[in-house]
Each structure stands twice: as structure tokens, then as C-alpha cells.
């Protein structure tokens, strides 16, 4: 019985960044425990549509295949998620696969997530340790703090929270929910904390933290279960205190 069982996919195709999207239907032979990536690989191996016509192999991005790199994010049956960890058995058919259109589409399912990396650069989401001489070891981090900070470090810039957020769109320059977690992570680091104000200042700039409207879709959608809304409120507190301190002065 399992021999001739098939899975139906409807894939949104787009030949280039400015091309008009169109849909193509595929029937893929079912295999046990298959995920969306394995089905896409099967279609790529044999790019024949359900009606028997030959087509070009669909394009997408992937790397790790175990939900840690964030490259294969796409909209599957309406929800943004990683194609590698989305099991076909748990989906209703036909399975609709689309690119995350919050980002510029490069081709088919491949999107350009550069804006996320630009955002991380903008808010200085790194720990500056470079100097002209050895500065020695930094201060130690308390174990209980390390534990919650580790959760924030799981962010893989996959873009799912931006796709889910109603305030990330072409009408705003809001950088997106993931930035909150990364700013909180670097501000929590004992060495990173030394540049806390700088990081907050750049995150209070255009497109910054004020763009959040508390729809809380990000925390519902994050594949890594990062407590983004906790980071949002925590960074809001840091920003409120920082803005009052810098206005009234504190030394």
C-alpha cells in the first residue's frame, strides 16, 4: 500500500527578484518520516509537474538540515518554519510551500535575509574585545545568568519572527523582533555590558525597538522557543531607564 502513496505539493515559483510568482503542483512518492526538504530534493531530482510536464528544478537554501542554521525557512501551509524540521506526516495536503515574502525573493523559495545581518551590525550585537595588547580575561558570568542567556543565543537569524510580525513590512523600517533577544544577550554578557548604552542608543534609532506593537506573534512562531517577548519588555525597561538617565544625567 505504501508503495504507490504520493504527497501533493503546490510550490510557489518565481523566476527572479522582480518576476511574477506562479504556482506549480507536484506529486512526490511518499517515504516514511519524510520532511519538506526531502520532498523538495526529490522534486529537484525529477522536476516533473503533477500533469507530467517537465519544469525547472525549484530553488531554495539549506545547510545544516537539523534546524540550527536557519537557512531553509519558508512558508509551509501558511506558517513560516524550517523545511528541514517540518515533517510531511504532520501536514494537511496539498502542502503549500511559499517563500517568506517579508524578504526580497531571490528565486522560488530562496530569500535574501541580509536585512537581519545589517540590523545586527546596526545595533552592535557583538562583544568588542579587540585591542592593541592583551586585555586579559574578562569578568566571569554567573551560572544562573548564563542559563537564560544561553536560550537567547539559540537565535539562528532564520527570519520566522519577521515573517510573523505585523509591524515588519514595507511601510516601516522596524528591524524585527529577533534584535531584542540579541541586544539583551550582548547586554547581559559581563564584557558586552560595558557597551550597553551604545547598543541601546543605536536600537532606539530609526527602525528600532519602538517599532514593536506587542502582537507577540514572534514568541509564538520562534522555532527555537526563544522568549522574545520577555526580551522585548526587558529591553524596553533598559531603554526607558537609559533615556531618563541620559536626559537628566547620571554620574
Amino acid at each position: 500500500m505504501a508503495e504507490n502513496k504520493t504527497v501533493v505539493f503546490i510550490i510557489s515559483r518565481q523566476d527572479g527578484p522582480d518576476a511574477t510568482p506562479y504556482e506549480e503542483k507536484f506529486e512526490v512518492p511518499y517515504r516514511q518520516n519524510m520532511n519538506v526538504i526531502s520532498a523538495l530534493m526529490e522534486i529537484r531530482r525529477n522536476p516533473v509537474k503533477a500533469n507530467g510536464e517537465k519544469t525547472s528544478p525549484p530553488q531554495w537554501e539549506m545547510n545544516c538540515l537539523e534546524e540550527v542554521c536557519g537557512a531553509c525557512s519558508m512558508v509551509i501551509n501558511g506558517k513560516p518554519r524550517q523545511a528541514c524540521s517540518t515533517l510531511v506526516d504532520k501536514l494537511t495536503q496539498p502542502i503549500r510551500v511559499e517563500p517568506m515574502r517579508t524578504f526580497p525573493v531571490v528565486r522560488d523559495l530562496a530569500v535574501d535575509r541580509s536585512r537581519m545581518f545589517d540590523a545586527l551590525k546596526k545595533v552592535k550585537a557583538w562583544i568588542p574585545i579587540d585591542g592593541t595588547y592583551d586585555l586579559g580575561p574578562g569578568p566571569r558570568m554567573a551560572e544562573n545568568k548564563r542559563q537564560w542567556a544561553y536560550e537567547l543565543s539559540k537565535c539562528m537569524t532564520c527570519g520566522v519572527c519577521l515573517e510573523a510580525c505585523p509591524n515588519v513590512n514595507s511601510k516601516t523600517d522596524f528591524m524585527g523582533p529577533f534584535v531584542f533577544g540579541q541586544v539583551e544577550l550582548k547586554n547581559a554578557h559581563p564584557t558586552g555590558e560595558m557597551n550597553k548604552e551604545e547598543r541601546l542608543e543605536s536600537f532606539m534609532d530609526e527602525g528600532g525597538l519602538q517599532g514593536c506593537g506587542n502582537s507577540q506573534n514572534c514568541v509564538q512562531s520562534c522555532p527555537k522557543g526563544i522568549p522574545l517577548t520577555t526580551s522585548i519588555a526587558a529591553i524596553n525597561r533598559q531603554a526607558a531607564i537609559h533615556s531618563l538617565k541620559s536626559f537628566f544625567g547620571s554620574r
Binding site: 542608543e201 517577548t229 519588555a233 531607564i241
Partner: protein, 209 residues
């Protein structure tokens, strides 16, 4: 430097609670005198009307904050791209309604201020009679009930958002408990608002309610 965007957003959040939210509570409380009859309402309204330097109080604590909150609020509302169909989560619906009630309130309040405060400037006396005349037809009663419910919703949910925007409630637990609290505030203020509306329509029914 904190951008103008940041300052405007935080000012919008702050003014929504102080003074606009507080004014809403005072306003609904004064209205509630209507449930004790025309005389009680007229006395309460008269007290508010006879406050010293009323025009200054109105401009500083009502008109200017409300204008900023409304105009900047329209800008915020149209920046969002609602996605409740794809992401039908509880908070996303509240986010969506916060924007819609805000937009509706701009229309409702413009109408309401025209019919009451501006009518008063044009010579109509502010009293129970004025409101009873306004609410003399069922469409107006419906319009006012929707208006009151929108205002109370926008205030209750806005109070929750205020506490998050200013970083007062951070943990999921505190955010959840505050949600329960704001639901209670919504229900209580909705009862106050709707009973007042009906008091102008039919004082006898409200006395029995």
C-alpha cells in the same frame, strides 16, 4: 541619540494613559451620575463645567494630548499589516482590535465633541436633556454603545501595552496576570459606560438593572 521616532512612540504611550486614560475614567464616572437621575447628573456636570480656568485644563489635559495621540495613532495603525488570518493568536487579535478601535474612536470622538462641547459653545446648554436628546434614536444609542465599548477596550488593552512599553511587566507571568487584570477593568468600565448610556435613554429601566 534616541530618535524622534522613539520619543514620539513613548510620548504616544504615555499620553494615552496620562492624561487621556485618566480623563476617560473621570468622564465615565461623571456620566454615571445619570443613573441617579437627571438632577444628580446636572449637578455633577455643572461642577465640572464650573471648574476654574476650565479652558486651560481642557486644552492642556484633553485637547492637545488627544490630538497628538489620535494623529500619531492613525500613523501607527496604518503602519501595521494585519495578519490575524495567518496568525490567529490571542495577542495578535488584541493588537488588531487596538488599531481598529483607535481608528473608530477618531470618528466617534469627533462626532461626540461636535455634538456636546461644540454644541455647548454654540448655545445648547450642557445637561441631562442634551444627552437625552442626542440618544433619542436607536441608531445613536448603538453608535454610542459601540463608541463607549471601543474607548473602554482601547484604554484597558492600552494600559497593558503601556506596562510593556515602559518595561514594567517583563516576565510572561506578570504579563499574563496583568492581562487578567485588564480584562476585569474592561468589564467594569464597560458596565459603567453602558449603564450611563441607558440612563439617558430610559432612566426607569436603569434603576431596575
Amino acid at each position: 541619540m534616541a530618535s524622534r521616532d522613539f520619543v514620539n512612540r513613548r510620548l504616544h504611550s504615555f499620553l494615552g494613559l496620562i492624561p487621556i486614560g485618566l480623563f476617560l475614567v473621570v468622564h465615565l464616572t461623571v456620566n454615571y451620575f445619570a443613573t441617579r437621575g437627571a438632577e444628580a447628573f446636572d449637578k455633577a456636570a455643572n461642577f465640572m463645567e464650573k471648574l476654574p480656568y476650565l479652558v486651560v485644563l481642557e486644552i492642556v489635559f484633553i485637547y492637545l494630548p488627544l490630538l497628538f495621540h489620535a494623529i500619531y495613532g492613525i500613523y501607527i495603525a496604518f503602519q501595521a499589516k494585519p495578519n490575524v488570518k495567518r496568525f490567529g493568536y490571542y495577542r495578535n487579535w488584541l493588537f488588531f482590535f487596538q488599531r481598529w478601535t483607535g481608528l473608530f474612536l477618531v470618528i466617534f470622538l469627533a462626532w461626540h465633541i461636535w455634538e456636546t462641547r461644540i454644541a455647548m459653545l454654540r448655545g445648547t446648554e450642557l445637561n441631562f436633556e442634551m444627552m437625552a436628546n442626542i440618544l433619542d434614536n436607536p441608531w445613536m444609542v448603538a453608535f454610542y454603545i459601540v463608541g463607549v465599548l471601543c474607548a473602554v477596550y482601547h484604554f484597558s488593552n492600552g494600559l497593558w501595552a503601556f506596562l510593556v512599553h515602559w518595561g514594567i511587566i517583563v516576565t510572561p507571568k506578570s504579563q499574563r496576570y496583568t492581562s487578567y487584570l485588564t480584562v476585569i477593568i474592561f468589564i467594569l468600565l464597560a458596565i459603567v459606560g453602558i449603564r450611563s448610556v441607558f440612563a439617558f435613554v430610559n432612566p426607569d429601566t436603569v434603576a431596575m438593572m
